[in-house]
Assembly symmetry: D2
Homo-oligomer: 401 residues x 4
């Protein structure tokens, strides 16, 4: 490894690997079966809470939090290695209380929350008792240009009144979901990057309407799901404002870097697992007089996958390390780069695996098709590739000219 892990991270990594083998992989099908068996797909299968208890007992809990008081205090570089491992299983991140968007929301609360906000929302989130959503994207505008965001957050006496039409609020259908962070305009006349604010909206506030569920390539992603939420004249106390009016962009920027590292490392974990599936399947099937794994074209695909994975991982670790060393602002180019590189790579690797599995690859007998849909969606989250290419080019040109 170009840079060694801290001894704490090294230790956690070994614990985590063991836990995955013993508790996570064998329970993936249990989770699926419980989900299928229960009447309502929007209930959490009991195995999840059982595994959370086990993980917490092992100290494998809130690993993502760089804050030493509330979390493990790991660097982005260290945590990235753990995050990849959790990414290998769709059920893993939540088991360790390390799933999006709760991670980002918890970070925001740790950094910018008042004592009261922390007590009310951060603590139960840290314990894994409740869940949260992050309401940013809007159906009516290209949200990759965040200045397009139209929601309104208006001050009215001691309250703010929120009117917003948001979608892709992940986790909104989870029965444990109790709080939303909503982004919207407090001042449409301020300069562009001071117009937006973020505010806490308890889910049981009148006017919060979970309008409909949004599937992803046919998947419902139960029991969390993604939702369109309408905030209709929702009134919350003025003290629910985060950091201050007009500082929404600032908060968004701050959560962006680590969030990207997490997303990308999980995608890398999925790619690694897809490659394992590919190799095993190719070793177990024959066509035209030899095992698939002995065919040159299959081997070329295995090798290309390894090539792409290694490069995307190194780039992501490099970005994580740069955030640690020089801060998120200095690492903007790297943070933009991994957003393109990691999902693109994951899509390639997973697609090769699907091809080797044939029809089984597009079914739900294996997690490949679901992984692919996740990686495809990740390519869009925070804006499509073109938005990030634009940012990279801008920074590159600025440096060169």
């Amino acid at each position: 490894m170009l840079k060694e892990l801290s001894s704490q991270a090294q230790h956690l990594r070994e614990e985590l690997l063991d836990f995955m083998e013993e508790n996570v992989y064998p329970n993936e099908s249990v989770f699926e079966e419980q989900l299928k068996a229960q009447e309502d797909r929007w209930q959490v299968p009991p195995i999840m809470e059982e595994l959370k208890v086990k993980a917490k007992a092992k100290g494998l809990w809130n690993l993502f939090l760089p804050d030493e008081e509330y979390g493990k205090g790991l660097s982005n570089y260290d945590y990235a290695h753990l995050c990849e491992i959790m990414g290998r299983s769709p059920i893993a991140p939540e088991i360790f209380n390390c799933n999006a968007p709760d991670t980002g929301n918890m970070e925001v609360l740790v950094k910018y929350g008042t004592e009261e906000q922390k007590k009310k929302w951060l603590e139960p989130l840290l314990k894994g008792e409740i869940r949260s959503v992050f309401s940013m994207t809007e159906p009516d505008v290209a949200s990759s240009d965040a200045t397009n965001i139209q929601s309104s957050i208006e001050r009215d006496g001691d309250e703010y009144v929120i009117n917003a039409k948001k979608w892709w609020s992940t986790g909104a259908l989870d029965p444990r979901c109790q709080i939303a962070i909503v982004m919207g305009k407090t001042d449409p006349h301020a300069e562009k990057h001071k117009q937006q604010s973020m505010i806490l909206v308890p889910f049981d506030t009148p006017g919060v309407e979970v309008k409909r569920h949004l599937p992803v390539f046919g998947y419902d992603h139960a029991p969390h799901g993604h939702a369109e939420i309408h905030y209709n004249n929702v009134r919350v106390p003025a003290s629910n404002m985060l950091l201050g009016e007009g500082r929404g962009f600032e908060i968004a920027q701050g959560r962006l870097g680590p969030g990207r590292i997490h997303h990308c490392m999980r995608a890398i974990g999925k790619a690694e697992r897809a490659l394992e599936f590919l190799v095993k399947r190719a070793n177990s099937r024959e066509a035209f007089h030899s095992k698939l794994v002995d065919k040159g074209v299959v081997r070329a695909q295995i090798a290309e996958s390894r090539l792409e994975i290694e490069q995307a991982r190194l780039l992501t670790l490099h970005a994580a390390n740069k955030i640690d060393q020089e801060g998120a602002k200095a690492a903007r180019k790297e943070i933009a780069m991994i957003k393109i590189a990691a999902p693109r790579m994951a899509l390639n690797v997973i697609d090769r695996a699907i091809e080797i599995f044939g029809a089984a690859g597009v079914s739900d007998d294996f997690p490949l098709a679901a992984y692919w849909a996740d990686a495809r969606t990740l390519r869009i989250v925070d804006g499509p590739d073109q938005v990030h290419l634009r940012d990279i080019a801008k920074l590159e040109i600025r440096e060169q000219l």
Copy 2:
């Protein structure tokens, strides 16, 4: 056009285009809503039968059948143009009784069926009263090498006894499905290409077990669906054998060419429609101070899509024409080529559209994600790309050396 359509095809094309505008596109959402509203997703929404009646009345019925007695007698080249148009809508092919696998099954019955077989199965299929499945692929072997197929069809007196474990039998969950064509080994000791036979199996025969439904990238494809079917000691009269023992490969070969043309033209139709979606969306959205449609990178994607579509279409039409002129055997290389070119192109074009739509592109607000899943599956149907590349190379090398 390099080659003109026949006047009959030209006429049908215009009728079809009108019918699509007036009856098909406006009813796509009706179909979806009826499907969602009904208690059981495995019932056919009433709008389908209504539209079938209308299409039949217009003479837009069984267009695929090259046989002049039973169908329209169009050449593959002519029908290809119509097939592309139907491919634009997921509900269209069935409306015109031109959906797989019924088309292929009807062709087989027209060409090889006895009078009795025709009366019993072909006639109701031609009328659109019943539906059928084609059971070829097996879960336990790489079926892209058809010699791997393990199912057994054993003669026992006046009957054949079928033991088979098949999957990806499309349409098996449709309540109207009444007949299966099953491929299996009648003689494991014959030379390789004489071992397999095809036989008709009425769906209500004891031992036919629709084991489970198979989703595709999370989609259930209701009300048809794809199924794993176990044929457990299923006994059918000896007269259900198609063409004769050991002639399964021959039948498979015969249905392959036209079937590929159909699949590929439908994929081209989907790609065209995805490009329309892309252009319209790009024209309606702004980001970073200009419409998406006015951005160079978006225009480049539109142009690349046009480039790919045109080439894939020309190749497919060329293959269709070659089958018409020289027969399917002479066109083997072209038939293999389109199997790679058309879905690959469709995936690229649809993926670009998804990227422009952002999160809306992976949801079910637009048919893009579903189109993509279809095209991805088409890449696997009849074997993955590598199998077809292998065939193309073999023929190419044979010609050159």
Copy 3:
């Protein structure tokens, strides 16, 4: 074939194929050796004139000219097939008097030349006695945007005075080169597309300075070569103007379509020959216990090459046919498309061949590296891909919205 060749073209095709086998391929090395042996690389090896005599005797001469009086009167579709064949050998086009830029220049003279201009320049060109250049591109501006062109052509009494700095004037170093067609501004104040004119400039006019030779990827392309030419106060009679002042764009447009077909079909010819080289080489070499041609990865490359060649050829033939049927203006999109598709394909195919040849592939023992350099250059001729993608998108959007 989707559309049959005319019987004349069919006949010429057979004659041409024979001539290539008997006279062209066996003399490629003779040409190379004569070129290497002579003191000055800018002299035409004698074998060229010998082969021209033979070709003319066979009637294989000026095949490109659609004009029935001066040429064969073939359609673009018909000639395209012949052009591909000639493209297979770097020495072939000139043997049949079908090489650029003389073909384009002859077409311009046939269509727009006065009787005097025809007598003086067209006739010796048609006989293959002299050669010509086309001076359009300029070193100081991005000439892919033709409105950037800065050269000046000023009227002064009975003469025009030309001041121009041109480069990539192909054929300028050929000792037989006697005439140039130069594009430049006659009226910088006219509307954009009426500013430019084309004028005939005899090469021996005072002020015509062949400044320097321009190599292409290290190749000198002797004995024709590409040159930077400075036209310094060059005075020619006013009667040398082509078609009329301000009509330079119109002429440029007119020669564009057929010229593109020629370039692209020649690139396709090169790709076909590269694939032949690849297959033969792969059949003659062993590594790791088997012939290269028996390896799956090599076969996949052969198949991918075939796939790309067929599609690019069909698209180019379709464009040629559309020019024939509907005129160059209606075929603008297709003409832009082939400019991208054909060289891109040729580069891929040739590159695969180079890879199979290993080090021999980049040397001059085989024509592959030279073919590649030609195809790479073709990607730039008339503007880089992005310019053509831009045009395709513009037309596509106009049609769709």
Copy 4:
């Protein structure tokens, strides 16, 4: 940076960067002009020796040598950073006595040479007084499978008799070239990996025949050049054997790892410089109403280039570090990976720059076309991609199954 440079490397890096700015870049055109001006292209332009003196005086000499006695003792990781910088200019590596194949030959002599061999050949090489070739590849076999190598080295009393037909012996046309390391079979009956040996052959030994020069994409690479060399009954003292009979493979393996790092880092240097050229050119040209650098499609290309460069560099540095930490054997997979990743990336980046430069990009007004030819050749050196993909897959499968 994921891992810091040693302070020595950091210091050398700064010195080197200064030297490049002050002495190398400004003299590239001087070198070219001197080469063109001299009668014989196979003489070294005087500026080269002048710059070598300056570099040596600055201590920028033999940086590549990990041996502390003979060289700087830098790790592969440290040297990689310097190597990239030198790779930016085609004349740079020799200025610092760090050019292939002399670097590899010197390493072999340091590691395996006897005192006598060192005195005679290593010392003048280290001083930059003479130059050497490495004769491995053969024209008649696919040398990427090294067991194919056919040359014979036969013991005859106190001598070895060498009969070999080698090509792509780089540097053989340099007038200072005095020694060759030749690989050939000493024992065709030994087990596969013990058949080959390496032996020192002074260039003035009777029977050493530099048969012909081999151009690369039209470039002669004077004054070094690549040659086909026939060794006809060449007799050398038995003491010229390196390491011992049958140990040729062992030596080849040993020089492989660091050599790859060097090649790849130089390719990365070229890519970086090509990107600089691209950005500057795009900033200086206009088309269609705006600067190229302000167009989205150009920016996307800049960003994609940055993405590819970063990933290839990280992978190469990771491979270098792994060789340092765990030895070349443990790093085999990484060494194979960079051989694919670095030239592939460099070709992409350089090609994009060529496209932006248009016709200027394929000429010799800029080094882009020459860089491209170098990078294309590098893809073939040590075997085509498929050979390395094969190795990567083999190691990957071994680890996974």
